[in-house]
Amino acid sequence: MSSLNLINLNKIYDHNVQAVYDFNLDVNDGEFVVLVGPSGCGKSTTLRMIAGLEDITSGQLIIDGKDVTKMPPKDRDIAMVFQNYALYAHMTVYENMAFSLTLRKENSDLIHTKVMAAAEILGLTNQLNKKPKQLSGGQRQRVAIGRAIIRNPKVFLFDEPLSNLDAKLRNSMRRELLLLHKKLNATIIYVTHDQTEALTLADKIVCMSMGYVQQVGTPLELYEHPKNLFVAGFIGLPSMNFIDVQITEDGKMVCPSFEYQLSADHQRLLKDYVGKTVVFGIRPEDIVEDGDIDFKVKINENLGQSTLVHGLAKEKKLVCKFKRWCAYKQNDMIKIGFVEEKMHFFDKETTNAITEAHNE
């Protein structure tokens, strides 16, 4: 296992289409890094550059202290798992897993030992003589993972490996991946557009949008301290509520829907924005059924352990997540409030979060 350094990686396609801008990232030994972002944000391109399937237009890729920027994929000692499994349909599970070692002309006894060990880890021992088409989606993806782990590569690359599976299987495979990571202590770079996968799997998340890295941090950092509007909106389900508010001299935030008295801390934070409009962000789970803002219920969605309540504060649409079973009806009027320490403010122009550091 090993470390990885991506230094100023850029990818420019024909006709000057730039897919990735100045990507910088350090991945430590044994770290599980998730690249997350919407479709077309450049996350897969970045992964493919690491794999060597795309040329790096400029920048440097270093694996274990060695510059591999110009190296062909087979010499980089990486293994990749693809979204659609990419299994060799004409080979059995055993042959699929053994393929890379066969190409390297490894000793057949060694190959057998390794295949059996990988099959044991992945629970595929009884499937080894089957062809991929005889397997279920989850088993196929396990074979693809087996093909990767058998080589004991320096870095594992996963390109949306769970997107083709149904929801239940995805959950169980996610846990299996976590266990596998613990067992192998592997360095993993994992691409997904699903922020739940990112939050649950990652040691470190790289949130991307339009080719730019928006924020790098632990899942908790991204969840609690999003650097900008994009990250705040992307991480968390349901998404954060955003409301344009004006900061008044008497320490209130005012919008057509409500007036809210800010705490002393928030007043200090926003002292440069008095008289200006900022974006106020609050996660649905940080809205409480206690306060003085009028809220008209539109939809009451029970999820079991919690309830999503969609509705309006005057004209402004908000989503709240209450940690109990609610039975509101349409047009019920309730009062809501916000959890002080979970309120986020963003500069309307730069879209960056307004933080203490910002004021210093």
Partner: protein, 299 residues
């Protein structure tokens, strides 16, 4: 539960079955007729009395053929042409189809255009003949001029088959190729260990196309192998010459004809010529039916 057929469906079914049956009879009849004629007696064959079943059964025509060395030499030539012709053509078509299926191939569009162009417009028989003859004099030095090898090489390429293979290779998902590259396969290994086995059915189909066209190949074989190299002739050319020499141009032939008609000899040759195809076809047919769909339509 069985559903009752609508009247229009019923009419369609009756029509379809009738037409297909008629077509099947049209295909089968000449074959049965040939067998009957081959094993019927001389008089009934010469007087055109055979309609379906044989009369005055004799096997002397087969005995005569089994003794005919020139026939078996040409038979061996045809086997040779079919085997090496198919192998060589497949080799060319697989490499060509693979290269043309890759988007990164330089001038790919141009090459594809040139390839398809030869399907729309051929040069014509005389230029083609001159081309083969002149180009292949190059091979004179290695001693293959006027031999079977000329057919193998000159007829080695078929645009249609390359396109079928190209489409089959394009149908293999690009992730599979990438997976193989990441697994450490070289370009040649990607082709031989991944693409070729995954396109087995199309390759079998194209192989069958090549094989049948070599087996049945007559015109160019007859043009390119001169009469003084008659020991290089394939079966089809030999049968034709046999007809010319013994039936059309002579008065009841050079061979002693007693119990069978000369026509029976011809039919016997025809049957011998078709037997290998009848034996091989059922084995390849399963690929053939699947392969035409798989290669022709890009999924």
């Amino acid at each position: 539960m069985k559903r009752r057929l609508e009247v229009s469906e019923l009419i369609f079914k009756i029509l379809a079955y009738t037409l297909l049956t008629a077509f099947a009879i049209c295909c089968l009849y000449p074959f049965v007729y040939a067998i009957s004629s081959a094993i019927s007696g001389r008089d009934v064959v010469d007087n055109n009395e055979i309609i379906l079943l044989p009369k005055d059964i004799q096997f002397a025509a087969f005995a005569e053929i089994f003794k005919n060395n020139a026939f078996w030499i040409s038979y061996a030539n045809t086997l040779f042409l079919t085997f090496y012709g198919t192998v060589f053509s497949l080799f060319v078509a697989i490499l060509g189809g693979y290269a043309l299926s890759k988007k990164r191939l330089l001038f790919r569009k141009g090459f594809n255009f040139i390839l398809v162009f030869t399907m729309w417009f051929s040069a014509g028989v005389v230029p083609q003949y001159l081309n083969y003859k002149k180009t292949l004099t190059v091979f004179n030095s290695i001693g293959i001029q006027d031999t079977k090898w000329m057919i193998v090489i000159a007829m080695g390429m078929a645009a249609m088959n390359i396109i079928l293979l190209r489409n089959a290779f394009e149908g293999v998902p690009s992730e599979i190729e990438e997976a193989a590259i990441v697994d450490g396969a070289t370009e040649l290994q990607v082709l031989t260990k991944v693409y070729v086995p995954m396109s087995k059915s199309t390759i079998a189909t194209v192989g069958l196309f090549f094989g049948i066209s070599r087996w049945n190949g007559y015109y160019w074989a007859q043009r390119m192998i001169p009469a003084n190299h008659s020991f290089e002739w394939p079966l089809q050319v030999y049968i034709r010459r046999y007809l010319e020499d013994n039936i059309w141009n002579s008065d009841q032939g050079a061979i002693n004809v007693e119990v069978y008609s000369l026509n029976s000899i011809v039919y016997t040759m025809v049957i011998c010529a078709i037997i290998p195809i009848l034996i091989i076809y059922p084995y390849i047919q399963k690929y053939f039916a699947k392969g035409v769909n798989m290669g022709g339509v890009k999924e």
